[in-house]
């Protein structure tokens, strides 16, 4: 059997990319506009919030604790050399609240939920369930996408707070149990170092990441073509795209906040 290698023109690739960006932008805008149009499908939103929020809780707890502990462990070895082990709380606090808490939670939820959304909607596409929904007079973006976007953005906000808190506890466990740091000293430094800008940064990011996770997952899901193989492809692409977009967005949001509030 002979296989023909088909060369794809770079112009075609660029066109396809531009088209995908356009479709994604339209889908994202529509998912937001649907919040202001009836019906709102609150039941579906609550169901998704449970699925995304409560369902992701175990991995968020585990990663939050681990990242906080690892951050403390790595920072301590350097700080100890300069006699600054008491600063460990500050480092864990800033690191977790502004960066690692939102980022790790976002990436974990992206891995779990972007793929889930892409595979669920992709399966619905290949079995004509989305067409059936449209034929039954229901707008799939309202019924399927907007509840997922709302629920992910809302729940990621709270999941990040939980991850931050557990990261601080993980850091405390290392600081106290391994480096014998006083509890009061640790928690005081954790609290005192944080300013409004840090908390604002740490809480605005999960909302944006939640939006990215849901819209990317749904976009790849409803763009699925090519049967079950296509569903698998969409699932992988959704996780990769959501993770990359979260990292890129994180950089620009951090830069923007520095530009607005100034450097520390």
């Amino acid at each position: 059997m002979a296989f023909e290698l088909e060369l794809i023109s770079p112009i075609e690739v660029a066109k396809d990319f531009a088209l995908a960006v356009q479709d994604y932008t339209l889908l994202s805008a529509q998912s937001l506009a649907n919040f202001f149009r009836r019906p709102l499908y609150m039941g579906d939103m609550l169901y998704q919030a449970d699925l995304i929020g409560v369902g992701s809780l175990p991995i968020v707890i585990l990663t939050g604790l681990s990242v906080g502990a690892l951050l403390a462990l790595n920072a301590a070895s350097t700080l100890q050399r300069f006699g600054g082990i008491t600063l460990i709380g500050q480092l864990v606090s800033i690191g977790m609240v502004t960066e690692l808490g939102p980022l790790i939670t976002g990436l974990m939820v992206a891995g779990r939920n972007s793929s889930g959304m892409a595979s669920e909607l992709g399966s619905m596409i290949v079995t004509e369930q989305i067409d059936a929904m449209r034929a039954l007079g229901t707008d799939p973006t309202k019924k399927l996408i907007t509840p997922r976007v709302g629920a992910t953005a809302f729940m990621l906000f709270f999941l990040t707070i939980i991850a931050d808190l557990l990261g601080l506890i993980g850091g405390y466990a290392v600081a106290h149990l391994i480096f014998s740091l006083n509890s009061r000293q640790y928690w005081t430094s954790v609290w005192q170092i944080l300013v409004f800008r840090d908390v604002f940064t740490g809480l605005i990011k999960p909302v944006l990441f939640g939006f990215i996770i849901a819209t990317i997952g749904c976009y790849y899901g409803i763009s699925t073509r090519g049967g079950t193989q296509g569903v698998g492809r969409s699932t992988t692409q959704a996780v990769v795209a959501a993770s990359v977009l979260i990292l890129v967005t994180d950089f620009f949001v951090t830069k923007l906040i520095f530009a607005i509030f100034g450097y520390r």
Binding site: T127, Q129, T138
Partner: protein
């Protein structure tokens, strides 16, 4: 077996404007990746008429059904459904129109996360009808397709034929003015196919709903042309020789993206076109 009770008569049919067509395609063309699937298709479906649509696999039969309710848009031409120009309507306007049209998809397309009752009552729930009324109507329509016992089951627990009947129940629960069937007997054994054909005939003869039925089984369409549903015995009976069915029945054949035949059973049987004669034989 006792005859199942029939749902109340359909008031929507009586309200239909007698002028114009239930469905009209005017010079419709569509291509996918430069492959022309439908090329200048024109035909009409009268109110109350049932039209069987034939063609080999990949001839654009399912595409034509999706075009009829705006699930996909043609490259050119105009499509009218229930007097409204589908090709000019926005997606929001189409949602309203689609509530008056029922469609049965090739693989049933039941929502696998919902129970049979929720699938059938889906549209009623969307319309904000009370839970009691939804249950009454869902049970009534499931009784019509003789599947009331599946009320609490999930689609994955049903056989292929049962899923097809649930899909028919979902399509007719709102008493639509037009029904579109996409290969309703495809992939089913002869006995189950017969049950589905009888069900479609029951819907046609009891409610006089206009229908466009895609099929590649000529015998199904001929059965529909030569039989009539008898309400008294709740089964289909053969029409006496020379007598035509009360409801008009016609045939449409697609070949190479074009309509090569549009006429009744007699015209089909007496056609001199070699391809059609071979198809019929």
């Amino acid at each position: 077996m006792p005859a199942p009770t029939l749902p109340s008569e359909n008031p929507a049919v009586a309200a239909v404007n007698p002028s114009g067509y239930a469905l009209e395609f005017d010079n419709v063309s569509i291509a996918f990746d430069e492959k022309v699937v439908l090329d200048g298709i024109s035909f009409q479906l009268q109110h109350g008429e049932t039209k069987a649509l034939f063609g080999v696999a990949g001839s654009g039969k399912s595409t034509l059904l999706k075009l009829a309710i705006g699930l996909i848009r043609p490259d050119s031409g105009r499509i009218f459904a229930l007097g409204e120009e589908v090709t000019r309507m926005s997606e929001q306007e189409l949602f309203e129109l689609r509530r008056r049209v029922g469609i049965v998809f090739q693989e049933s397309a039941l929502f696998d996360s919902l129970k049979v009752s929720e699938n059938v009552g889906y549209r009623l729930l969307e319309e904000g009808i009370s839970a009691e009324e939804i249950e009454r109507r869902v049970r009534e329509v499931l009784r019509f397709v003789e599947l009331e016992r599946t009320y609490d089951l999930r689609p994955s627990e049903l056989s292929g034929g049962m899923r097809r009947r649930v899909a028919i129940a979902r399509a007719i629960v709102t008493k639509p003015e037009v029904l579109l069937y996409d290969s309703p007997t495809g992939g089913l054994d002869p006995v189950t196919s017969n049950t589905i054909v009888e069900l479609i005939m029951k819907q046609r003869d009891v409610y006089k709903t206009s229908a466009l039925m895609v099929t590649h089984r000529l015998q199904d369409a001929f059965t529909m042309a030569t039989h009539q549903f008898d309400k008294a015995t709740n089964q289909m009976v053969v029409l006496p020789k020379g007598k035509q069915c009360d409801v008009p029945m016609s045939f449409l054949i697609l070949r190479d993206a074009k309509v090569i035949f549009d006429g009744d059973a007699h015209q089909l049987a007496t056609s001199r076109d070699d391809y059609i004669r071979e198809y019929v034989s």
